[in-house]
């Protein structure tokens, strides 16, 4: 009799916990399956920019970063993957090149062939007039770090830091030579480097409960313990089932 009572009680708790956690279990399972296939599904490259989501993450809907070069419009599309801002430069809906946000500056270069220089975060892109990436120059290859603006001065491309100090940038030899300082750049309100989060980040935050702050994490932790209880009560009812 006592044995039957214990089995019934175990099943009762099994049912209660199962019903209470039903939706959470479904949510965690689906997000877990999706996260297991992040790379195949390209979740990290899907940018979500719904106003409600941006508001929830505390991100400002930054104005689209645009540039017009040699009569062609370019737009930076950027988003957060975790805490890492990533972005790509687009023209006519076609991705031209990866461009770590923000897009600091862009300048059309005179001469033939018609090229443009685009300054992303610690990376300079050289783009042809028909929006093809010719080359890129990064800090690891000698581009001065922390440049904020580009200009064409005295027949040379000049990159400047916020304090006005500058470098003549030779995009043929990929060398930088210090030039005379100019007045400090006008400070602009600091915008978030990206306005969006990746689907992977959203799913990770949902799966872990972080999307709902510290309380969400505790809920998922407690749910984890209850899943163990679910397994134990399920096992108990099988082992003790009258034969």
């Amino acid at each position: 009799m006592a044995k039957k009572y214990r089995t019934t009680a175990a099943m009762r708790w099994h049912s209660r916990v199962g019903v209470a956690l039903f939706w959470l279990l479904v949510l965690l399972s689906l997000t877990g399956i999706a996260l297991n296939h992040t790379d195949r599904l390209g979740l990290a490259k899907i940018s979500l920019q719904a106003p409600l989501l941006l508001d929830w993450y505390g991100l400002d809907a930054a104005p689209a970063e645009r540039a017009s070069l040699h009569g062609r419009d370019y737009q930076l599309q950027s988003y957060y993957s975790g805490a890492q801002p990533v972005g790509s430069l687009y023209s006519d809906g076609r991705a031209v090149a990866a461009c770590p946000p923000p897009l600091h500056s862009a300048v059309a270069l005179p001469g033939e062939p018609a090229l443009s220089a685009v300054l992303c975060n610690d990376e300079l892109l050289l783009i042809t007039a028909d929006a093809q990436l010719l080359d890129s120059w990064q800090v690891v290859a000698g581009l001065p770090s922390g440049l904020r603006a580009l200009s064409w001065e005295n027949q040379q491309l000049v990159g400047r830091h916020s304090d006005g100090s500058g470098w003549a940038l030779d995009t043929t030899q990929f060398t930088a030579t210090a030039v005379a300082a100019a007045p400090a750049l006008a400070s602009s309100p600091s915008a978030a480097p990206a306005a969006g989060v990746s689907l992977q980040t959203l799913l990770l935050d949902l799966h872990s409960g972080r999307l709902f702050g510290a309380a969400g994490v505790w809920v998922v932790d407690i749910a984890g313990l209850l899943f163990c209880l679910l397994a134990l009560t399920g096992l108990w009812s099988v082992v003790k089932r009258p034969r």
Partner: protein
């Protein structure tokens, strides 16, 4: 929910995300100048290989996607035997800057110059990169077996792709 509670929740979510992504900053291990100095006794000559449509199609088979850019820069020893290629390839989301030195259609060295992802940085260890020494292009594969690293699959894939691409590009250089 009050505005204050929502702010607290948002801050907590962002902090957690930041913590998770700790270490995702760009890590430069070796500048391109240091890389060049390490593998060339004399300053090498700089060159550019223009990527024609045909070359891009062939490179696509090695890389798994069309290579970005219209040209790729390289450095070459004055006797023309050794060339060095520094290329970026995305591991998971961010580019890894990889340097490959080729001599006589075989790899002399592979170095990770900069790594920006939060995971998979183990590919920079000499114990891993030494596996590429002596590797040649065998069809669309490397002639040497390269052991992977658990947890760094995408980084390993990126390094393999760049190693093959450097060997392929080096084959395109006219003898000097």
């Amino acid at each position: 929910m009050t505005a204050r509670a929502r702010q607290l929740l948002t801050a907590a979510a962002l902090l957690a995300s930041l913590w998770l992504s700790a270490g995702a900053r760009a890590e430069v291990y070796l500048s391109q100048a240091e890389f060049t100095q390490r593998y060339f006794s004399e300053p090498p000559a700089a060159g550019q290989l223009w990527l024609t449509d045909e070359l891009k199609q062939q490179a696509k088979r090695l890389l798994g996607r069309q290579p970005a850019g219209l040209r790729v820069r390289y450095q070459r020893s004055t006797d023309g035997l050794r060339s060095a290629w520094v290329m970026n390839e995305i591991g998971k989301e961010l580019p890894i800057t990889i340097g490959v030195v080729v001599e006589g259609e075989r790899i002399v060295a592979v170095e990770i110059l900069a790594f920006r992802e939060s995971r998979g940085w183990e590919v920079r260890f000499p114990a891993y990169t030494a596996q590429y020494r002596g590797a040649a292009l065998d069809g669309e594969r490397l002639s040497e077996n390269i052991d992977g690293i658990t947890g760094a699959t995408l980084s390993v894939r990126a390094v393999n792709a760049v190693a093959k691409l450097a060997l392929f590009y080096a084959q395109q250089l006219a003898p000097s």
